[in-house]
Structure formats: structure tokens, C-alpha cells
Symmetry: C2
Subunit: 228 residues, 2 copies
């Protein structure tokens, strides 16, 4: 599904150069549940932006279905970001002027889905994350963990084949967090979705097929988890 | 130090009323290390805003040093928020146009501290949170956990007597998070600071004198931890 070959991401701040990723080689298969685990500042969110085609590498190649993303047309990239991948961002990125249900429906709006069907789907997803009674709240009227759950519900709106989740449970208590993790694992096993979860928390490796350990912008170790 | 007596916080959204806090009674002593523990949406951040004099209750009384905060002058409240209490917000609230060291120095600017001393203090605090090499980065050029650490450093800038921390380690790996927790515990034991930590994570109760369990806007149980 995705392949990173000798990928570097170098940020320039005036004279100073900082390499957030230093020569990453990584393959992610269709239908896999991969966890990318590493400490704060190790390059996880940077890697997510590349995997999600939201950014381009400074050196090396990022391929999606064997095509170099740097060579794709914008229309192709838009379809990938809008239909293939569901994103859960570390900072949630909800639109502050839309209420909860509107925020969840937004990806469907972009796909010009039927409004009644979109509403119904958004309602179901809000029930999954226990926010059915917060439909009309604005993000500013929600707790931190509630905003995170809206971001999770939104990522599933178009029923994408791939979920790209950056610290999806950081603001949730363990009971709520576990419930979400089991829900994602269920989507993985029953529907064959590819789950790429990025986190500093080893607890989230529970359902992973593989754990990619990242440290200081480099892959430290790839752990294959034996599962029945 | 602080006393909440039958405190309610009721949010109105048009016709609908929602009670985030329902009759909270709580006392926090000088020099205590208290953890307020509860699930997502239980009212923790709402309680923090009241304890920090950033908001007023809908019913009931919030007292700081035996004075009703609803009756205080703005000048008195400004001094409390600027000198007595150091805040670590769940959403960090860094100023996007200031770099790391400027963000850390900001509370000192408000107290009209000496600029050279402020710089020196900010540098030391950034070393404590291992961000010495990120002084000139803007918040947008930092990882999630790095922004959280800047917020932590900033809360200590004026060397406040009280630290009010909302989910201070949610974006940090356990090693970094533990280091920060031990640092706060050290300030508590050596300098007698009052630490009020708000979290969903039971791991953070390690150094607490008392744990206040909150659920659905009410105090469920107060646990006193026996410590030598
Ligand atoms: N401005 C508001 N208007 C309406 N409801 C609000 C508002 N702010 C908060 N709430 C509601 O009050 C409740 C408590 O919110 P609060 O932010 O205190 O929770 P919390 O315990 O900090 O949760 P978390 O652990 O998810 O951060 C939530 O159900 C939330 O939806
Ligand atoms: N725009 C930028 N300019 C300069 N440096 C940057 C920029 N964005 C990120 N960095 C740096 O790149 C490194 C990796 O950042 P990244 O956000 O990928 O880390 P992370 O693993 O997601 O961390 P966390 O767990 O704290 O979220 C960090 O040291 C950060 O300071
Ligand atoms: Mg990150
Ligand atoms: Mg909160």
C-alpha cells in the first residue's frame, strides 16, 4: 500500500537545518494494523504527514500503490485524502464555526454525498464515540477528550479503507480509549481496513500486527507481533 | 488555600441547559499535592477554570484564601493569575507568533521583570524540559509533546506558589512524562508548592497527597494517600 524509501524531511529555519526524518525505509501492507511508536519529538507526526500525502519528503521517495506521490496530480492526491484515507490529527483540527455533527459530516460534504444519508451516518458514528448528546455543541463547548472523539468520528465518515491516527486516545481516560481501540481493531478484522496508528503510548500496540519503533527521526527496530 | 462550596457550573446553549458541575464541595490546603481524577467530560477543566479564577460559578462559592472570588476586584484577580498561580492548559495556549523562549518569558513580561533575568530563567526552564535546542522555534515548528513542554516551562516562569496543571503529560511518552512528574513532586517537597493536577490518567496519582475522584460533574470519592 505505502512504501517509504530512504525518506528524509529537513526543516529549514533561516540558516539552521533540522532533519526530522533521516533515511526512513518502511513498507505498509494493505489490511495491516501498524503502530508507529516513539518518544516526543521523534518524527511521528512528520511521518504521518508524508504517509497521508499532506506533505512531500526532502529526499527519498514516498509511494502509494506503487506510484510516487511527488509525481501525482492534485486531483489524484485530493481523492486519496478525501476518500481513501481517514485522518485523526494530534490537534484534532475541528472547524470552530461548525457544530459537532457538521464537523463529522464535513468529509462527506466534500464527496457530495446525500445530505440525509450523511446526517444518519454522522449520528451513528457519534453514538459509537458516545457523543450523541453533543450534536449541536461547538468545539469550544466540548471537553478535550470530546473534541478528540469528534475527530475520531469524522475520520470514519466516508468509510475510508485506511485510517491514519496520530495519538488518537491521548486525551481519553483508559476506558473510553480502550473502547475506541477495540472499535478500530474490529474495523481492521471485520472490514479489512488498514490502520496506521502513531503514538508514544505502548498500551496502544495491543492489537497491532507490527510495531515500528522510531527514535530521533530513524527507524530503530521493527517488531512483528505473533497473533492467532 | 481554596474552597469550593456547593459549586455548580451550568452552560446554556439556547434553550438547553447543561450542568458541567453539580454541587461540588472541595477544600485544597496550602502545600498540598492534589490530583483531580476523572473520565473524559466529567468536569475537570471546568473545575480548573474556577480554581484558577478564570471563570465564576453559576451557583455556590469559590474562595481563595477565605475570600469569595466573585467579590474580588479585577486588579486582585490579575495578581492571582499572574503571580500566585502557574497554569498548564490542556490545549497549551501558546502564542503562535512568539517563539519558544518568548512564550516561556511571557508571564515575566507581564510582571515587568528584568529582561536579562527573564531570559536566563526561561533558558533554565527550557533545559529542565529538554527543549534547550528549540528556543527559536515557533509553536507551529514544534511537535505536540514539545508544545506541551513549552506550556509546562511557561507555567513555572514567575516561580508561582501554586501550579494548576490540566493533563500536563497527555502528549508525552512515559519517560519524559515521568521526568516532569518527578520535577513537580520535587518542587512540592523542597519548595512547598501547591500542585493541583487534573487528569484522566491514574498513573499521575503517584506523588499525590490526595486524589479527588470526579464523575459526571460530581465528587465521587476523596482518597487520602498515606505517605511517609
Ligand atoms: N461552553 C460550554 N457549553 C456547553 N457545554 C460545555 C461547555 N464547556 C464544557 N461543556 C461540557 O461540560 C462537560 C465538562 O467539560 P470539561 O471540559 O470540564 O470536561 P473534562 O473533565 O475536562 O474532560 P476531558 O478529560 O475530556 O478534557 C462536558 O460534557 C462538556 O461537553
Ligand atoms: N516546521 C518545522 N520546522 C522546524 N522543525 C520542526 C517543524 N515541524 C517539526 N519540527 C521538528 O521535527 C521534530 C519531529 O516533530 P514531530 O511533530 O514529527 O514529532 P512527534 O514524534 O510527532 O512528537 P510528539 O510525540 O511530541 O507529537 C521535532 O523535533 C520538531 O521540533
Ligand atoms: Mg506528534
Ligand atoms: Mg479537560
Amino acid at each position: 500500500l505505502m512504501r517509504l524509501t530512504d525518506v528524509w524531511k529537513i526543516y529549514k529555519m533561516g540558516e539552521v537545518e533540522f532533519a526530522a526524518l533521516k533515511g526512513i525505509d518502511l513498507e505498509i501492507m494493505h489490511g495491516e494494523f501498524v503502530v508507529i511508536l516513539g518518544p516526543s519529538g521523534s518524527g511521528k507526526s512528520t511521518m504521518m504527514n508524508l504517509l497521508g500525502c499532506l506533505d512531500l519528503p526532502s529526499k527519498g521517495v514516498v509511494e502509494l500503490n506503487n506510484k510516487d506521490i511527488a509525481k501525482m496530480k492534485e486531483s489524484e492526491l485530493a481523492q486519496i485524502r478525501g476518500q481513501l484515507i481517514g485522518f485523526i490529527f494530534q490537534t484534532f483540527n475541528l472547524l470552530p464555526t461548525l457544530n459537532t455533527i457538521e464537523n463529522v459530516m464535513l468529509p462527506l460534504e466534500f464527496q457530495e454525498a446525500d445530505p440525509d444519508e450523511s446526517w444518519k451516518r454522522a449520528e451513528e458514528l457519534l453514538d459509537v464515540v458516545s457523543l450523541g448528546n453533543k450534536k449541536y455543541n461547538l468545539p469550544s463547548q466540548l471537553s478535550g477528550g470530546q473534541r478528540q472523539r469528534v475527530a475520531i468520528a469524522r475520520s470514519l465518515a466516508v468509510d475510508p479503507k485506511v485510517i491514519l491516527a496520530d495519538e488518537p486516545t491521548g486525551n481519553l481516560d483508559s476506558e473510553t480509549g480502550n473502547y475506541i481501540l477495540e472499535f478500530l481493531d474490529d474495523l481492521h478484522r471485520r472490514e479489512g481496513k488498514t490502520i496506521i496508528m502513531i503514538t508514544h503510548d505502548p498500551e496502544l500496540t495491543k492489537y497491532a500486527d507490527r510495531v515500528v519503533h522510531i527514535k530521533d527521526g530513524m527507524v530503530d527496530n521493527i517488531e512483528i507481533i505473533k497473533r492467532e
